[in-house]
C-alpha cells in the first residue's frame, strides 16, 4: 500500500479509498506491537500499580491516610471525580452533539473520544466510591429492598449523581458499541486468524452490512445522539448540584450548572487533543485525524476557555452584587487568601494561556498546542481544587477554619487514576479500531452517489 505522506491532507480521509482507510485503521490490530508500545504501556501500568498500592494501603488502614479532615472532608477524591467526569464530556459532545449539528469532521475522532469518555468515567467512578471509606458496600447507593426497609434519599444530589453517572456510563457504552458493530463485521471479514474471527463474529452479532439494517441503524444513531446530548449536559449539571444545592458560600450559586458544563467540555477537549496528538503520530493516522481536526478542537478550547473565564468573573460580580457578606469573603479569600496560588494557577491556565489560540499558527503548531492543552488540563484540575477546597476550608465559622494539605497517598491515587486511564487508552488503540471505519468510509471523497450518476450510467 502506498500512501503519500509528504502532503497534509486537507479534509477527512482526503483522497484515500475505502480500502486504504480500512487498511490504515486495522493495521494496529493486525500487527504485533512494537517496542514503543511496550514502553508506553509499561509506564502507564507502573503509574496504575503505584495508584493501586496506595489505594490498597488506604483500604487497609482506612481513609485517615488521606489529607481529608474537618472542615475539608471532600478534598482530593471529589476534586478528582469532578475532573475525570469532566474529561469524559468531550467524547459525548463530539459523538452526539456534533453529529446532530452535521459536523462531518467529527467522524475521524468520534470513536476515540467516545472511548476516552468511557475510560474517564471509569476513573471518575472510583473516587466517590473509595471516598465512602468502605467501597465494598457501594451497593447501598442503589435503591433495593433491604432488611432496614429504608430507601435512598431521592431528594439528595448525591443520589442524583449515582443515577446520572451510571446512566452516562451505560449510555456512552451502548452508543460506542452500536458504532462498533459494523467495524467488528469488517474486521471479521478481514482477519485470517480463526480465534480472532470467532471473537469478532460474536461481537459483530452477525452484522451483514445490509441496507435494510442500515436504515434502522442510522435512525438509532440519531435517536441515541438525541438522548446523549441532553444527557451529557445533565451529567455535569447534576455534578454541579452536589455543590450548588448545599449552602456553603462559593458553592451555593445558580451559575454552577452552565459553568461546570463549559468547564467539562473545555477540559475534555484538552485531553482529547493531548492524546490524539500522540495516537495519530504513532499509528500513522495523520490522514484521518488531520491537523484540521486539531485546529477545530483548539477553537472549541478557545471558546469554552472564555466561557469559563466569564464564569469566574461573574462569580465575583454576583458575590459583590448580592451583598452577601459570607459570599464576598469567600471570593476575596479565593483570590487573595491562603489558596491564592491555586486560584492564580487556575486563572492563568484556563483563561490566559488558551488566548494564544487566537493565532492560526499556534492553533496548527503541534508542540505549542501540546503545551497549552496540558496547561489547560492542569488548570481544570485546579479549578475543581479551588472550588472544593477554598470554600470548605473557610466557611461560616472562623473557629473551624483549617488549611487543607493532601498527603502522598492522595497524590499516589491521583497518579494511579491517570495510569488507569492511559493503560485503557493504550490497550484500546491496539485491540479495537480507533477510528470508525464505516463512518470514515461514508464521508470519504466519492463515497456517496453523485445523484445524477445513476442516470448517466446507462
Amino acid at each position: 500500500m502506498n500512501i503519500d505522506y509528504s502532503q497534509e491532507v486537507p479534509t477527512v480521509a482526503g483522497r484515500l479509498t475505502p480500502a486504504q482507510i480500512e487498511e490504515l485503521v486495522a493495521k494496529p490490530m493486525e500487527t504485533k506491537p512494537n517496542k514503543k508500545y511496550f514502553i508506553a504501556l509499561s509506564i502507564s501500568v507502573s503509574l496504575l500499580l503505584i495508584g493501586a498500592t496506595f489505594l490498597a494501603f488506604s483500604l487497609y488502614y482506612g481513609t485517615g491516610l488521606w489529607g481529608n479532615n474537618q472542615p475539608v472532608g471532600w478534598a482530593f477524591p471529589i476534586v478528582n471525580f469532578v475532573f475525570w467526569v469532566g474529561i469524559g464530556h468531550a467524547g459525548t459532545l463530539i459523538s452526539a452533539i456534533l453529529f446532530l449539528l452535521r459536523q462531518k469532521w467529527r467522524t475521524g475522532i468520534a470513536r476515540f473520544a467516545e472511548a476516552m469518555t468511557i475510560f474517564a468515567v471509569m476513573c471518575a467512578g472510583i473516587f466517590p466510591i473509595i471516598h465512602t471509606g468502605r467501597p465494598w458496600l457501594a451497593g447501598y447507593l442503589t435503591p433495593y429492598p433491604n432488611q432496614h426497609s429504608l430507601w435512598v434519599n431521592f431528594t439528595s444530589p448525591l443520589v442524583w449523581d449515582v443515577f446520572a453517572v451510571s446512566t452516562y456510563f451505560t449510555v456512552s457504552f451502548v452508543f460506542w458499541y452500536v458504532g462498533l458493530i459494523p467495524d467488528f463485521a469488517t474486521l471479521r471479514d478481514r482477519t485470517a486468524s480463526k480465534l480472532k474471527k470467532t471473537i469478532y463474529s460474536v461481537f459483530s452479532l452477525g452484522w451483514r452490512h445490509s441496507n435494510r439494517h442500515w436504515t434502522h441503524y442510522e435512525k438509532s444513531y440519531i435517536l441515541l445522539a438525541g438522548f446523549a446530548t441532553p444527557l451529557v449536559l445533565s451529567v455535569h449539571t447534576i455534578v454541579s448540584f452536589d455543590f450548588a444545592v448545599s449552602i456553603i458560600p462559593g458553592w451555593h450559586t445558580t451559575i454552577f450548572p452552565p459553568y461546570f458544563v463549559a468547564g467539562a467540555i473545555f477540559s475534555g477537549f484538552a485531553m482529547v487533543v493531548t492524546v490524539l496528538v500522540f495516537v495519530r503520530k504513532i499509528f500513522d493516522l495523520q490522514h484521518i485525524i488531520t491537523l484540521d481536526h486539531l485546529e477545530k478542537m483548539n477553537k472549541v478550547i478557545l471558546l469554552t476557555g472564555m466561557m469559563v473565564g466569564y464564569a469566574y468573573a461573574m462569580e465575583f460580580f454576583i458575590a459583590w452584587y448580592s451583598g452577601v457578606q459570607a459570599e464576598q469573603f469567600v471570593f476575596i479569600n479565593r483570590a487573595f487568601g491562603p489558596y491564592a496560588w491555586a486560584y492564580w494557577i487556575m486563572v492563568s491556565c484556563n483563561v490566559i494561556f488558551p488566548q494564544f489560540f487566537w493565532f492560526k499558527k499556534i492553533r496548527r503548531s503541534i508542540p505549542i498546542m501540546m503545551v497549552i492543552v496540558i496547561l489547560v488540563n492542569v488548570g481544570m484540575w485546579f479549578e475543581r481544587f479551588v472550588i472544593v477546597v477554598t470554600s470548605l476550608s473557610r466557611d461560616f465559622l472562623p473557629s473551624s477554619w483549617a488549611y487543607y494539605k493532601p498527603t502522598i497517598v492522595d497524590f499516589g491515587i491521583l497518579l494511579g487514576s491517570f495510569g488507569l486511564f492511559f493503560t485503557l487508552v493504550i490497550l484500546f488503540t491496539k485491540s479495537l479500531p480507533v477510528v470508525s471505519i464505516s463512518e470514515v468510509k461514508a464521508s470519504a471523497d466519492g463515497a456517496q452517489p453523485t445523484h445524477h450518476g445513476g442516470a448517466d450510467h446507462e
Binding site: 475505502p18 446512566t167 471479514d189 470467532t198 452484522w207 451483514r208 452490512h209 441496507n211 438522548f227 452517489p449
Partner: protein, 388 residues
C-alpha cells in the same frame, strides 16, 4: 456446481455507489421483493431506490422513554411518600422538583438501552452468525469496499438462469451464487472458545463467591465488626471495678421522668392537682391503662371484684363514700406510691397515664352512682331516649 446444494440467492457486486443505486432501482422496478443490498456503509438515497419505508424504531424509543419516566416517578413517589415517608430538608414527601433529575436519567437510560436491544433483536434479528451470506467472497468484498445486491431464492419471481441474466445486464464486476451451508457450522462451538467461556464462568463465579463469602470476613473488611468500643453488659479493663457500664451520677434525672417527692408519705393531696383535662382522648388512654394495670384486682368497673380468685387479697370497691371522696391527687398518690398491699406502679405507668387513670376512675365512679340529672344530660348529648 453441486446440484444438491440449496440456493440462498444470487449476488452481484459493483464498484461504485452510483452503480449500486442504479442496480437497486432496476431490481425494484423489475418487481423483485426478496432482495437486499449490502454496502460497507449506508449509501445515501438507497432507501428510496429500494423503496424501504422509514424506520419505526422511534416508536420503541417513545414508549420505553415514557415508561422510564413513569416508572421513576411512581417509584420515587412510593418510596418517599408511601412506604417510608421522611421529612428531609423541610421538603414535601412528594418533592417533584427534586425528583426531576432521577426521572430524566431513568428516561434516557430505559429509552436508549431498550431502543438498542429492540433494534438488534427485533429489527435486525441478530445475533445471526450462521446466515448463508457469512464467509462468502461476496460478504468479504462488501464488508471492505464493494457494493453488492443479492436476490434471494425465496422471491416469487426467482429463477436461477433468469436472475443471473438479469444481473449480468447491470454490468457487475462479479456474480456469485450463494448456497445455504451444507452443514451448519458454529464457530462459537470451537473448543478454544468454549474453553474461554468456561474460564470466564469459573473466574466470575469463583470471584463472586470469594468476594461475598470470604473477603468480607477477613481483615480489613471485617473491621466494622471488631471495634474498640464498650458494649452494654460487657466487662471492661478501663475502670477499676471491671464493669463496662457506669452508674449515673447521683441525682441524675432520666429524660421524661419527673422525680416524685412524696414517696412514702400518707397524704400529700393538698399539693397535687390533676394537670390533665378529662378529654375523650385522655379518658380513652386511662381506660386502656386501667384495663391493663388496675382491672385484674379492682375489677372491670372498680367494684373490687378481682379476677385473681383469691391469689391476691381483694381490694375494696372504689365506689364507697371514702373512695369517691378521695381527691384526684390522692388517687394519683396511691397509684404512684402504693397503699397497704398494693405496690407502687410508678415504674410501669408513666405520669401522664397515671393521671389519665385517675380521670377514668372518676368516670366509673360517676357512672356507678349516676343521678337522674345525669340521665337527662346523657340523653341530651347522645340524642338517645333512655328512661330509668
Amino acid at each position: 456446481m453441486n446440484s444438491d446444494k440449496k440456493i440462498f440467492g444470487i449476488a452481484a457486486t459493483f464498484k461504485t455507489p452510483d452503480e449500486i443505486i442504479n442496480a437497486a432501482k432496476k431490481v425494484t422496478s423489475s418487481g423483485f421483493v426478496e432482495f437486499d443490498v449490502n454496502t460497507p456503509y449506508p449509501v445515501h438515497g438507497m432507501d428510496k431506490a429500494m423503496k424501504i419505508k422509514p424506520s419505526k424504531l422511534g416508536f420503541v424509543t417513545l414508549v420505553t422513554g415514557l415508561s422510564g419516566a413513569a416508572i421513576a416517578l411512581l417509584f420515587m413517589y412510593w418510596t418517599m411518600s408511601v412506604d417510608y415517608p421522611l421529612v428531609i430538608g423541610g421538603k414535601p414527601f412528594f418533592a417533584l422538583p427534586a425528583f426531576i433529575p432521577v426521572t430524566f436519567e431513568l428516561t434516557v437510560l430505559l429509552a436508549t438501552v431498550s431502543t438498542v436491544i429492540a433494534m438488534i433483536a427485533l429489527f435486525f434479528r441478530l445475533p445471526d452468525n450462521k446466515h448463508p451470506l457469512h464467509d462468502t467472497e461476496y460478504m468479504k468484498s462488501v464488508s471492505a469496499d464493494k457494493y453488492g445486491i443479492v436476490i434471494e431464492s425465496t422471491d416469487a419471481k426467482f429463477d436461477e438462469a433468469a436472475v443471473t441474466d438479469f444481473l449480468k445486464k447491470l454490468n457487475p464486476i462479479k456474480i456469485e451464487v450463494i448456497y445455504y451451508p451444507e452443514e451448519e457450522t458454529y464457530p462459537i462451538f470451537q473448543p478454544k472458545f468454549i474453553m474461554l467461556l468456561v474460564v470466564i464462568a469459573v473466574v466470575v463465579s469463583g470471584g463472586t463467591y470469594l468476594m461475598l463469602n470470604k473477603l468480607m470476613y477477613i481483615t480489613p473488611f471485617n473491621w466494622m465488626m471488631e471495634q474498640d468500643k464498650l458494649n452494654p453488659q460487657h466487662s471492661s479493663e478501663l475502670f477499676s471495678d471491671g464493669y463496662g457500664m457506669r452508674t449515673p451520677v447521683e441525682g441524675t434525672v432520666a429524660k421524661g421522668f419527673i422525680p416524685y417527692p412524696y414517696m412514702g408519705q400518707t397524704n400529700p393531696t393538698e399539693v397535687l392537682s390533676n394537670p390533665f383535662l378529662p378529654t375523650k382522648e385522655n379518658i380513652e388512654l386511662g381506660k386502656g391503662k386501667y384495663f391493663t394495670y388496675c382491672s385484674p384486682c379492682h375489677g372491670d368497673f372498680a367494684d373490687g371484684d378481682s379476677r385473681l380468685r383469691g391469689q391476691f387479697p381483694n381490694p375494696p370497691t372504689l365506689h364507697s363514700n371514702r373512695g369517691r371522696e378521695f381527691s384526684d391527687g390522692m388517687i394519683y398518690h396511691i397509684i404512684t406510691n402504693g397503699q397497704n398491699v398494693m405496690p407502687s406502679y410508678a415504674s410501669q405507668i408513666t405520669r401522664e397515664e397515671r393521671w389519665a387513670i385517675v380521670n377514668y376512675v372518676r368516670v366509673l365512679q360517676r357512672a356507678k352512682n349516676a343521678s337522674d340529672s345525669d340521665l337527662i344530660e346523657m340523653n341530651k348529648e347522645t340524642g338517645s331516649n333512655v328512661t330509668k
